[in-house]
């Protein structure tokens, strides 16, 4: 066993046992962040804070929610909204948080794409980030089942049906996932388990991994400059903070993050109090009814772009396209063949690729909500889906010929 001296303070006592001083140095006070960054680099901490809000509000909801097909709807819409003190506040925080977290995730992702933050040692940051995206998607979907409204039921029906694999007709798999022929009690209970236990654990694990992958490559910066961290850190520690290109994570980087978070929370709570409807679809305030298909079935806004990639094609082709769209962003670090780590504006054709991809995903999102019966919208959807794949096919070629900066 290691040899322990008598500690002279609580801090020292902990340091002997946990090396907290080393941890603090490595993870906070001497975790160097480039100075040349903008508020988009605060989005990661904004995401962490939003996830925190979701966890806290979720715990309060969990104390009253009843995962039973006969009780679920009223436990949410009556017990929590009417009888529980501030239950409405927790619910609206949870609902708005679940929607806004995706907005910030998309901003965070497109920031990474714009500045090329997924290359040259940062591949794992990107991959763990995509892992988070997938885990959050599953978390959001499973949560959407819980109020057991019309959209819970029918979205659950439509999405689990996808697992029949089109012409493969793997209905056995669909039933296995549902635990029944149609979404019913077994379905609700297992999605409840996923939503409140398994997926949050996965997310927390992935966040730790994501943070871990950031430590060695350090975060990127506005110009993609390759910083000599040893030199910059030496300058900083010598007190030459003006000439050093870095700042410590704590407290300097955090000071700015916390300011950005404050502004974000003004907006967040404005939405929670005055504009929460966008995050809570009206259709889901009709109780689930397996005999009455709603006029329009569509997913929440953050899934619309991939839903629209599924829709315009024939059954099998659509499924394949959808499956590829779900995972293609994982491949970004490997399809981008250019060695340049720089903002898109300085990167030749990639500049156009970036904006085309952003706009294409937006157009797909818009079309994904509209009824497929309108020929014009269906055609725009089809073209945007084709453009989506064309862009991914073009990516290795246009980045290959990109001039080295």
């Amino acid at each position: 066993m290691a040899h322990f001296e008598k500690a002279n303070s609580v801090g020292e006592w902990f340091d002997q046992r946990l090396a907290i001083n080393t941890l603090k140095r490595v993870l906070a006070f001497e975790y160097w962040i480039p100075k040349n960054i903008n508020f988009l680099w605060a989005m990661g901490m904004v995401l962490a804070a939003t996830f925190g809000m979701l966890v806290v509000s979720g715990i309060f909801l969990l104390m009253y929610y009843q995962p039973n097909v006969d009780l679920a709807f009223d436990s949410v819409n009556y017990t929590i909204m009417t009888e529980v003190g501030y239950g409405w506040l927790w619910r609206h925080i949870h609902g708005v948080g679940a929607s806004v977290v995706f907005l910030i995730i998309y901003i965070h992702m497109f920031t990474g794409i714009y500045y090329g933050s997924y290359k040259k040692g940062r591949e794992l940051i990107w991959l763990s980030g995509m892992g988070l995206f997938v885990a959050f998607s599953a978390e959001a979907f499973s949560g959407y089942m819980l109020p057991w409204g019309q959209m819970s039921y029918w979205a659950g029906m439509v999405i689990t049906n996808l697992f029949s694999g089109g012409s493969l007709e793997a209905y056995g798999l669909v039933e296995w996932i549902r635990g029944d022929y149609v979404p019913a009690q077994a379905f609700l209970t297992r999605f409840f388990m996923l939503h409140v236990l398994l997926l949050p654990l996965v997310i927390i694990g992935l966040i730790v991994l994501h943070f871990g992958t950031l430590r060695i490559p350090h975060v990127n910066n506005q110009d993609g400059e390759d910083i000599d961290y040893e030199e910059a850190a030496r300058l900083y520690k010598e007190g030459n903070v003006k000439d050093s290109k870095v700042i410590p994570f704590q407290p300097v980087f955090l000071a700015k993050d916390i300011f950005v978070m404050g502004v974000y929370f003004i907006l967040f709570f404005y939405l929670v109090f005055y504009h929460f409807e966008f995050a809570m679809d009206p259709v889901n305030f009709d109780p689930a009814d397996g005999l009455k298909t709603p006029a329009h079935i569509y997913p929440e806004w953050y899934f619309l772009w991939s839903y629209e990639i599924l829709r315009p094609f024939s059954k099998d082709l659509g499924l394949i396209a959808f499956a590829i769209a779900q995972v293609i962003f994982f491949a970004l670090p490997f399809l981008d063949k250019s060695p340049n780590v720089a903002p898109a504006s300085k990167r030749g054709l990639f500049k156009f690729w970036f904006w085309a991809m952003l706009i294409d995903v937006l157009v797909l999102t818009f079309m994904g909500k509209l009824p497929p019966t309108d020929a014009l919208f269906a055609n725009i959807g089809l073209i945007s889906a084709l453009v989506f794949f064309a862009l991914w096919i073009a990516l290795p070629f246009i980045t290959k010929i990109e001039k080295k900066l």
Binding site: Y78, W88, L89, I258, F273, P282
Partner: protein
Amino acid sequence: MNKINKELQILGVVAFFTLFLYWGVEPFAHSQMHKHVEGEGFAYSEFKASGKKGNVENGKVLVTGAGACTGCHGIKAINSPAPMDASMSGASYGVNPPDLSTAGALYNAKFLAELIKNPAHALKVEHKFDPAKGKMHPMAQFYGAGGDMDQEIADMVAFLKSIAPKEMTNKEAYVDACSRCHANRYGKLTQIGETTKFKYKKDELAHQIKVLDYQDSLKKYMGKLPPDLSIIIRARSEHFLETFIENPQSQLVGTSMPAVGLSHEGFEKVIAYLGETGDPSKPARGELGPWVIIFFVVFSGLAFLWKKEKWRGHH
């Protein structure tokens, strides 16, 4: 300064795309998904006013006599009880005729006159009730009491107006206008009245059977059980509710729900009640919201000062 400009530029780009995204998935999508229906604010311009001035005294005589209204309807305001209880009415008419105490305020006067003359027409359910095919509306048509029929109708309407309360609660309006068809479980209302607490399980079950029996009659009459309206205020847009209640056919062609004929005031009360049961946190939101936002404004201000302090000398 330059740095701040750049941050603001980036913020502008992010804000632009965020708002564009919002526009596309909310206002634009909804404008494409739902058919557009114009209401006319409960004016009932299709029904003509006879222009006759009603006589309250004569109206009372007609309503309780030749008009036969009290043969089917109760009028608590003049201590005239309903001839049958809800269950029996349900069994006889398919639905329990509402108490008429509030009718003069709840319904539009032109609508009421039309209703007395020709219920199926006023209620816009002629697709279901056609005397030529032997399908009579359960509310008997008034054929006149021997005098000028328009005058007699004006008298009855004047009487109903005279007994209508100056102030009715939102709940009263809802109960008289909608409750005979729609339950509201968050408001603890069934189609046949408030959900009461019973001491004995037997009584409770007996009551439940009564409710179920009534619902069976209603199902037969309407073709389906009208939905519970507890939280309809969040399930439909306000515009939908307004135009649908004014004229159900405008939104759901062929539906068996009648055009209830609410006055504008009656509509506002009904909607207010639906808000009380379906969105009860509205007042609390209004109260707490500003404080939370002020908190974060102050928080951001302090955070900004802290940031300035920490970044001093860094540029």
